[in-house]
């Protein structure tokens, strides 16, 4: 599903975030991406989500070369991907429901279908009772779950999570990870970037380790 061929990413200023990365992640896999902060985990996810483009080499998603994606096609490629962010990227001027509905509104869903799918997603992360709340009134773990609900509301085939357990206690982290494995069990490809090596070592999923922009 995802293919990196000799991929390098150099940021303006000459910092090499990724150096000659070759990797393949098959459809239906769940993979951890680990390494110290600054090792290039986020950059790797950004290349898949087309938030960044590779300086060298090619990134393929479902056989499509992302380096050659036209600017106007980027939104449509992104709709195939669900992504959660380190800082959750929630909007605090609207309800939990409206936050989760955003990817559907963007795709032009009618209001009726929208309610059903948003509630299904909120139900899956256990926040159905809080759909009318403002996300700022929720705990860190709950906010993370709102972000997850938003990532899955579109039923994407690929889920990218950047440090989903970064600010959570071990109990909540375990809950969030078990959510991701549930999605994986129904066929979703999941890539989780995390520096929590202890947690990763206890889980039965493969881990790719990045060190100074290179896979080790």
């Amino acid at each position: 599903m995802i293919n990196f061929e000799h991929v390098s990413k150099r940021y303006p200023g000459g910092m090499d975030a990724l150096l000659n990365i070759n990797l393949q992640i098959n459809s239906g896999q769940m993979v951890f991406l680990t390494g110290h902060s600054g090792a290039g985990k986020s950059t790797l996810l950004k290349l898949i989500a087309l938030i960044e483009t590779a300086s060298r080499g090619n990134v393929y998603l479902d056989g499509e070369n992302l380096n050659k994606a036209k600017h106007r096609n980027i939104p449509y490629i992104r709709r195939k991907i669900g992504m959660t962010f380190q800082n959750n990227q929630l909007l605090f001027d609207r309800t939990v429901f409206d936050n989760v509905a955003l990817p559907l509104i963007v795709c032009g869903y009618s209001h009726r279908d929208l309610g059903r799918r948003v509630r299904a997603a909120l139900n899956k992360v256990g926040l159905l009772s809080k759909e009318r709340r403002n996300p700022i009134t929720l705990s860190g773990g709950e906010q993370q779950r709102v972000g997850i609900a938003r990532a899955i509301v579109n039923k994407p085939k690929l889920l990218l999570a950047d440090e989903p357990t970064g600010n959570l206690d071990p109990e909540m982290s375990a809950e969030v990870i078990s959510l991701f494995s549930q999605f994986n069990q129904v066929g979703v490809t999941v890539i989780i970037a995390s520096h929590d090596l202890q947690m990763i070592s206890r889980l039965p999923y493969p881990a790719l380790t990045l060190q100074q922009g290179q896979l080790v």
Partner: protein, 308 residues
């Protein structure tokens, strides 16, 4: 089709709601737009009315022929008959020196001064209305040249001279108003552009997140285009109201002034088409300003590398 329409109605309502949610800032923007548009629109209203004033007299072209002093009324009659036979003359009217004196005595405060004169200082006047078949000024010029060559006449005066000058001044001022309006229109464009730029900055988070979950540029730009449209439309409506107020305030003084000239001229309000033009142009300017601002700032601000 229907979800698409629903989406537009919803976005339109939301952006209108966002404008009314911050009424003071919105009013300031709308008022600036309205004043910028009301200025040229008011000038247009005045120029348009003056133009009507010009039209009023335009069909009334006449030539006054002043007889040489000392010529008698028989000479005047003879010349008048001669003129009547010409094809390029529509009508001939004699104002005898006696008639002219009488009128002058009735109308002016000079009557006392006129009384002490021994003899009538006024010449006979023949007022000729030329037959103007076309707008060709050469025909009229030919007639004028011929009249000027007549030995019986002291001078000829074409009453149309001032009408032409008046029209030339009006044309000049219309060009001036157009340029003025274009400048102020550009101002409106920039005011709206700047308002939209601020709105984009205030909603940066929303723009970024929408972009991250797969919103197209068109989708992200749409609410801002609606905002610009509303600002333009509301500004245009307020401008129209302001011009209406100008008309109301000037209506009575103009009528008073024109009545001193024995004229029934009155200031007409803006026509329906001119009113619609102001509002339409304003709405289009709003849309265009928003489009420019959104195209420029969205591309700069959704460069997500720096935010993510």
């Amino acid at each position: 089709m229907r979800p698409w329409l629903n989406h537009h109605v919803r976005i339109g309502q939301q952006s209108l709601g966002r404008i009314t949610a911050n009424p003071i800032a919105a009013w300031m923007t709308i008022t600036v737009i309205a004043i910028a548009l009301a200025l040229p629109a008011s000038l247009y209203l005045l120029a348009d009315n003056l133009l009507k004033l010009g039209d009023y007299w335009d069909g009334d072209t006449s030539i006054s022929l002043y007889m040489k002093p000392g010529s008698n009324s028989t000479a005047t009659q003879t010349l008048a008959k001669q003129l009547e036979h010409r094809a390029d003359i529509l009508s001939v009217n004699i104002i005898s020196s006696a008639q002219a004196l009488e009128e002058l005595q009735q109308q002016s405060s000079l009557s006392a001064a006129l009384d002490i004169l021994d003899e009538n200082p006024l010449p006979d006047v023949i007022v000729v209305k030329p037959q103007i078949t076309s707008d060709d000024p050469l025909v009229l010029n030919k007639l004028l040249n011929w009249l000027n060559s007549l030995p019986e006449l002291d001078m000829t005066q074409l009453d149309r001279d001032w009408v032409e000058r008046f029209n030339a001044i009006l044309n000049l001022s219309r060009t001036g108003i157009f340029l003025f309006a274009a400048l102020l229109g550009l101002g409106v464009l920039l005011v709206i552009g700047n308002t939209i730029r601020l709105e984009i900055q205030n909603r940066k988070d929303e723009i970024e997140i929408t972009w991250l979950v797969g919103g197209t540029t068109g989708f992200i730009r749409r609410p801002f285009l609606y905002s610009g449209f509303w600002y333009g439309l509301l500004g245009g409506l307020l401008a129209w109201i302001l011009v209406g107020l100008v008309w109301l305030l000037l209506k009575t003084p103009v009528r008073d002034l024109s009545s001193t000239y024995q004229s029934t001229f009155s200031l007409s309000p803006l026509s329906v088409s001119a009113s619609l033009s102001i509002i339409t142009v304003s709405a289009i300017l709003g849309l265009a300003g928003a489009w420019l601002a959104a195209s420029y700032h969205l591309y700069r601000n959704t460069d997500l590398n720096q935010y993510y």
